[in-house]
């Protein structure tokens, strides 16, 4: 069977929002795609990577979002249609070239996908990246379902090329991670090679040229705004009402469902907007003139609302405009929030459904946790033991990745988590201002992404810290993408494996080691030695904790039909002390009613670290690892 994303023209297939965006890029004739993974954007490039060879275009996972955007921008300079995709906070990393791309423009169609995360399902903030469009003078497009997303992205390449200007397609978690039917269009021939035409007054942003380009940019912006009057996914549905709801992007779906729920469909005018930045004025004015009351429904910040109010003021249209006074600004929208806002706007009495429960069962929370066999759990356990043994109370400067979960009990070994690479970065300041020893904890992919400049800084300015690179051989958090340390590229080709320890050596870190966290005793010895070095010599040190992600290996074993090894508890030796489930917290170790431990043989990966944790030697191998299983790890 063909991959759904490559099904034939005319077929309707069921696609994830991100797969629809990928199909849109294929139908739009891309020749180049690059990204750094980040939820909820990851599946776009993953989907493209899986079909790149078959369709014939270039795909890469780049080291970070800045490099990804620059690479796609470069390809577009040469006339090749290109796409880059990143999560909303990734755009912060890429903001520098993003701003410049609007000044120089591009030759080939250039689409930047920003996947925002209202509600912060897996992000440190819920910034609204439509502001980047306003900030950089780059038009922002949205869609309310996967089919519209596919069509929009397809059309954007032509649009971008016509204006020789970059465009942003802004998705959100609820679009990227929702599925719907998508009607497929033609997969065209594509251009994968271009030419770079030398034109210094366009491609070199020295002040003299930038000043001219800045003037042109503002002009272009108004041309783009005018062109968007005709954008087919902006639509005014005039039902002759005095009330109009303006719905931007995904909000349109919620508004339609809310109207259905309140029996108001076709009884209130709807202006559906998919181009919030720059907001086309003509289509909005038409709606304003037909109405006495307006409600703007949009997720997060009042971007459309502000522009609508400005327009009404400029044109002297006197009417009531509502928005963030009725629609919550914090968190993502859902049907109930929109129903409430619409009911209040329409002066309808609406009572939300009451909870139907009357027994008070206390539901425990279910925070995410390290998987069975996760090497990070071993690392945090060993690190705690090492620090305790040296009677140190270090500050743990943490970072973004699975290991962020180390903030939770029983470990609590992430005191600061702010952004990608921030572990080493922030420690560079603390090193000169506090007396506690500093441990910067960073993942392998994050180290390559944004850790290296911070490390160089620590050497250059002599900031004593122990940098722990938690190297699980993959970008795990986002679903196992390869990175520069894995020896593999996005489309599966083998490549050079870059070693974090060698980088540290090369930039002048004098104490470096690599150790396996499954090797508990040796790893603890190394960490003690490294910590002592940092405290006594007052210099930076780096230790790589190297062991592959157990989830990756477990899944691979399932796929190949290789059985997992497991450990078991010797009943008579177990004293029900609880150390293994209380202080180690492996989900495969479950307390029995009598307090003794039980190890689930289905989910245990046989890492054996708990056997080291048990003070009574009650945990022993149940089923030994097969040769095939051991081979999976290397």
């Amino acid at each position: 069977m063909a991959k759904p994303v490559l099904e034939k023209e005319g077929k309707t297939v069921f696609l994830l929002g991100n797969e629809a965006i990928a199909r849109g890029a294929i139908e739009g004739g891309i020749g180049f795609a690059s990204a750094y993974p980040g939820t909820p954007s990851t599946e776009i490039i993953e989907t493209l990577a899986a079909v790149a060879r078959e369709v014939g275009f270039y795909v890469e996972w780049s080291t970070n979002e800045k490099v990804a955007l620059e690479a796609a921008y470069g390809a577009a300079m040469s006339g090749v249609r290109s796409i880059t995709a990143m999560k909303h906070v990734g755009v912060n990393v890429a903001a520098d070239p993003l701003m410049s791309s609007a000044y120089t423009g591009v030759k080939g169609g250039f689409v930047i996908v920003s996947a925002d995360d209202p509600g912060m399902w897996s992000s440190q903030n819920e910034q609204d990246n439509r502001y980047y469009g306003l900030h950089a003078f780059i038009p922002v497009f949205e869609a309310y379902n996967p089919n519209e997303a596919k069509e929009t992205v397809r059309m954007l390449f032509e649009f971008s090329e016509r204006f020789e200007h970059p465009v942003i397609f802004r998705s959100t978690t609820r679009l990227s991670h929702s599925r719907g039917p998508v009607k497929l269009g033609k997969i065209p021939e594509r251009k994968t090679r271009g030419t770079f035409e030398k034109k210094p007054d366009r491609w070199t942003l020295i002040p003299a040229y930038s000043r001219k380009l800045r003037r042109k940019l503002v002009e272009k912006w108004e041309n783009i705004r005018r062109e968007l009057e005709e954008w087919p996914f902006n639509k005014f549905y005039d039902y002759g009402s005095k009330y109009t709801i303006i719905a931007s992007g995904l909000a349109y779906g919620y508004v339609m469902d809310a109207l259905e729920e309140l029996n108001l469909r076709e009884k209130v005018n709807i202006l559906k907007i998919n181009t919030p930045v720059p907001l086309p004025h003509g289509v909005v004015l038409k709606a304003l003139e037909r109405s006495e009351k307006i409600l703007v429904v949009e997720e997060l910040e009042p971007i459309v609302e502000t522009e609508v109010k400005k327009l009404a003021f400029e044109k002297g249209v006197d009417l009531e405009i509502h928005g963030k006074d009725l629609v919550p600004q914090v968190g993502e929208l859902d049907l109930n929030r929109v129903i409430k806002a619409v009911a209040s706007f329409m002066n309808i009495d609406y009572k939300p459904p009451e909870p139907v429960t009357n027994i008070d069962v206390e539901i425990p929370p279910r925070p995410p946790t390290f998987c069975p066999g996760c090497p990070h759990r071993a690392t945090f356990y060993i690190l705690k033991k090492a620090a305790n043994k040296l009677r140190l109370k270090p500050v743990y400067s943490g970072d973004i990745g699975c290991y962020s979960l180390g903030v939770l009990p029983p470990f609590e070994e992430q005191d600061i988590i702010v952004e990608m690479g921030g572990s080493i970065g922030v420690a560079n300041g603390l090193a000169h201002t506090i007396d506690q020893p500093l441990i910067a904890i960073i993942g392998d992919s994050t180290f390559f992404h944004a850790g290296i400049p911070g490390l160089i800084n620590a050497v250059y300015n002599n900031a004593p810290m122990l940098v722990l690179v938690l190297d699980n051989r993959i970008t795990a958090m986002t679903g196992h993408q390869p990175h520069p340390g894995t020896g593999l590229r996005a489309t599966g080709e083998k490549t050079i494996m870059i070693d974090p320890e060698k980088i540290a050596r090369a930039v002048g870190v004098e104490y470096t080691k690599t150790v396996d966290p499954y090797n508990v005793d040796e790893a603890q010895k190394v960490l003690e030695e490294a910590l002592k070095y940092v405290v006594e010599r007052k210099k930076p040190a780096l230790v790589v904790m190297k062991r592959a992600c157990s989830l990756l290996i477990y899944r691979e074993a399932l796929r190949r039909g290789i059985e997992n090894p497991y450990y078991r508890v010797i009943e008579d030796k177990c004293t029900a002390c609880g150390v293994c489930y209380d202080f180690f917290g492996c989900p495969s170790i479950i307390p029995k009613p009598d307090g003794k431990a039980y190890i689930d043989p289905v989910t245990c990966t046989g890492c054996g670290v708990c056997a080291k944790v048990c003070p009574f030697n009650a945990i022993v191998p149940g089923k030994p690892a097969s040769e095939e299983w051991n081979k999976l790890w290397f």
Binding site: W121, Y252, I363, P368, T369
Partner: protein
Amino acid sequence: MNEYNIVIASVGGQGGLTLSRIIGQAALLKGYRVRIGETLGMSQRGGIVQSYVRIGDTVESPIVGEGEADAILGLEPVEALRAARRYANNNTLIIVNTEPIHTITTIAGREKYPPLLDILDELRTISQNMIAINATEYAKNKGLPYSTNVVVLAVFASKTNIMEPEYYIKGIKTFVRRLTKENIELFNDVLRNVNKIMTMFSQ
């Protein structure tokens, strides 16, 4: 067709998302309009995973409204209750797998995992239309320890008539990549013996 809203509640790794995709694909092949919302969060790491399958001509948004679920498929008891409190009404069909998965806080003794019977009692109070079955044990007995979702799907298929079984089987073929044939056999087996299984594995 009239709107039909399904909420699937599970723990990361149980196959909740696959289940929603199977039902969605089935509905699409049947010719229904369908939209799925997925709440992943940190799903791979034992967190809560909820997905929403919305079928119907007027459906436009990906999340089910509070109290609006026609069916809740709970692959884990506490997660079924968490979802039911938000999305169920007195008529909601609730199918719950009775095999608990402890949370990391209940393992470490910081919280208590509530007694199973209390969970089932509350679910029954929410809706009389509640089926409790140890789907995990049944799947394990059939040699498919990862197929809790397929057992629950088959019970759902047998208790509703929105689609014929063949559509679900097509959905399984599309989204179950490992042991596909065995899973289809399991689906058919549960379908054939649903009443017997419900007596033997119910609580």
